[in-house]
């Protein structure tokens, strides 16, 4: 196997933890899973945690006085502790469980729409996003803007796939209430400069929300170091089950801001005439939470932390560097996004001559190689670069140089096939 500095030592052992990597498709081809930016695979350890939860401890959480209810509550709240430690949150009460990153981002938008001053977004105020956001960090703000009359503004992109911050002082102004942007783009792979944006936002007193969906799975994430007010991410991209997301928010804000969904668990006391709400995080967790999924997320965090987020990051950087190097050798291949391995994540989008990404993806699939094609829920990026879609290969801790080689060989085959 190709050896690269930075690769995880126990890569073979790690791959054995993921049952699906043994899956064969299309007449006995071992799957080459390069669609990790869409969702990650799950290790045995996480599946075991789910089974153990359902087979031994399952009950509804909070308020129960029986053994199962106490165990389920301890497991659920224990998962919150794990998430808090994972992102270096000052307090566990700042960790809100949602169903996915999209709900986390909608939660922020809705809190600000219903908030009192000084947080309230209304027709005199502005919202700032960027042109490289995932639809889940565009549409909630478009809805908020439509519904409140606020103005939606955004940072454009440079030709090489980075944020164009040259006009930062015009984009973020005294009217700005919230700046929401992606830490690592799921389509371009770009790793954005947080500090400069946070500094300007703080200057004008705007809140900052960071979409860390493509960062949390891949590198150490420290919400205090980021300096943001809210950080959103999603479990299924980081070895955890589907159905669980996280919103971290600064405690004072969570105390001040109004609830979003109403229902069981989020209340302090209810009468027909009025209700009062529980303190955060419960205020934002209406109804029976995704208990097993939180437990699974806790197990995923244990799994990743045991390996070490620094090491995972180094591994992916090595793979990404190798992939960029090999891909740019493919004739007619154009990388959409930074064409180097610096300040980028492990997702690489590209076009291949005139061959439509759907065809690229399909012919790769016939060879057992799973990539994603389309606009990757970031259609404004495709519009910006004048392309209908891209093919995207994205890596994770279990990705190998051999899989990069398979991709490159597969692309050769695609070119010959349509050539």
């Amino acid at each position: 196997m190709t050896q690269l500095p930075g690769l995880l030592d126990d890569l073979e052992a790690i791959r054995k933890d993921f049952p699906i990597l043994d899956r064969e498709v299309h007449d006995g081809r071992k799957i080459v899973y390069l669609d990790n930016a869409a969702t990650s695979q799950k290790p045995r350890q996480v599946l075991d945690a789910l089974s153990a939860y359902y087979e031994r401890h399952n009950a509804n959480v909070h308020r129960g006085v029986h053994v199962l209810a106490e165990e389920a509550t301890a497991l659920y709240e224990g998962a919150r502790d794990k998430v808090a430690a994972f992102v270096n949150a000052p307090s566990r009460d700042e960790v809100i469980f949602t169903k996915n990153a999209s709900e986390s981002l909608n939660l922020v938008a809705n809190m600000l729409g219903w908030a009192d001053e000084p947080y309230r977004v209304d027709s005199d105020t502005e919202i700032v996003i960027t042109e490289m956001e995932h639809h889940s960090n565009i549409v909630p703000w478009q809805l908020l803007a439509q519904r409140t009359g606020a103005k939606l503004k955004w940072f454009g992109l440079t030709d090489d796939g980075r944020l164009d911050l040259s006009n930062i002082d015009e984009v973020i102004t005294e009217k700005t209430k919230i700046v929401s942007f992606v830490l690592i783009s799921n389509i371009l792979g770009t790793h954005n400069p947080v500090e400069e944006i946070v500094r300007r936002a703080q200057e004008v007193g705007a809140l900052v929300c960071v979409d860390a969906s493509q960062a949390a799975p891949h590198m150490p994430l420290d919400v205090q170091a980021l300096g943001a007010d809210f950080v959103a991410f999603t479990g299924h991209k980081m070895c955890a089950p589907t159905g669980i997301g996280v919103l971290w928010g600064r405690q004072e804000l969570l105390e001040d801001l109004p609830p979003f969904l109403g229902g069981g668990e989020m209340i302090e006391t209810v009468s027909m005439h009025s209700s009062t709400y529980a303190p955060a995080p419960h205020k934002f967790e209406a109804g029976t939470p995704p208990i097993a999924q939180a437990v699974g997320l806790g197990a995923a965090i244990d799994y990743l932390s045991n390996i070490g987020m620094e090491k995972i990051h180094a591994h992916e950087q090595a793979i990404t560097e190798y992939a960029v190097k090999r891909l740019i050798e493919v004739p007619d291949l154009r990388i959409i996004g930074p064409a180097t391995a610096e300040d980028r994540g492990a997702a690489i989008s590209f076009t291949l001559g005139d061959i439509h990404p759907h065809d690229v993806g399909q012919v790769l699939d016939e060879q057992g190689i799973a990539v994603r094609v389309g606009h990757h829920c970031a259609r404004p990026v495709c519009l910006r670069y004048g392309i209908p879609a891209t093919t995207r290969a994205s890596f994770y801790l279990y990705s190998t140089p051999a899989e990069v080689d398979a991709l490159v060989d597969g692309l050769e085959h695609v070119r010959n096939f349509f050539g």
């Binding site: 759907h358 399909q362 209908p388």
Partner: protein, 148 residues
């Protein structure tokens, strides 16, 4: 799914380009960005031309080419029957194995039978056919208004 017939049509499309027509439509497949602009021309109830331009994957491009080859020169009723048969085949989820009768109706278009197994691609194959149906309805509407 990439039958030679499909690749041939993709590489050497029939009747591509926009020409004079009675009605024009623009259809988009939002999930993958495939687009087509399509014009139909009728002489009474005869399809005298289907011209088109667009971008998209091999399946949507080839499918437009096959459509042109198949429908131009046909009577409207016959063209509709072909369109419906193609629709049925594409919605079959791979469960229809085209028989001789179907092959007689669909000619080269039976090559798309394999595509019907791929839900993500069925919309690509149908893009031009839906556009044709839409354009034809508009052309007939316009024709009726003129007559009236």
């Amino acid at each position: 799914m990439y039958q030679d017939v499909i690749l041939d049509h993709y590489k050497n499309p029939h009747g591509r380009g926009l020409r004079d027509g009675d009605a024009e439509v623009h259809h988009v497949n939002p999930t993958c960005g495939d687009e087509i602009t399509l014009r139909v021309k009728y002489d009474g109830t005869t399809v005298t031309d289907v011209s088109y331009e667009g971008q998209g994957c091999s399946i949507s491009q080839a499918s437009a080419s096959v459509l042109n080859e198949l429908l131009v020169g046909k009577e409207l009723d016959e063209a509709r029957r072909i369109q419906e048969t193609f629709l049925e085949l594409m919605q079959s989820k791979g469960k229809i194995e085209p028989d001789d009768a179907m092959e007689e109706v669909l000619e080269d278009a039976v090559a798309f039978a394999g595509v019907s197994k791929y839900p993500a691609r069925v919309k690509c194959a149908l893009l031009s056919w839906m556009a044709w149906k839409d354009a034809t309805a508009q052309a007939l509407d316009a024709g009726e208004k003129e007559t009236a």
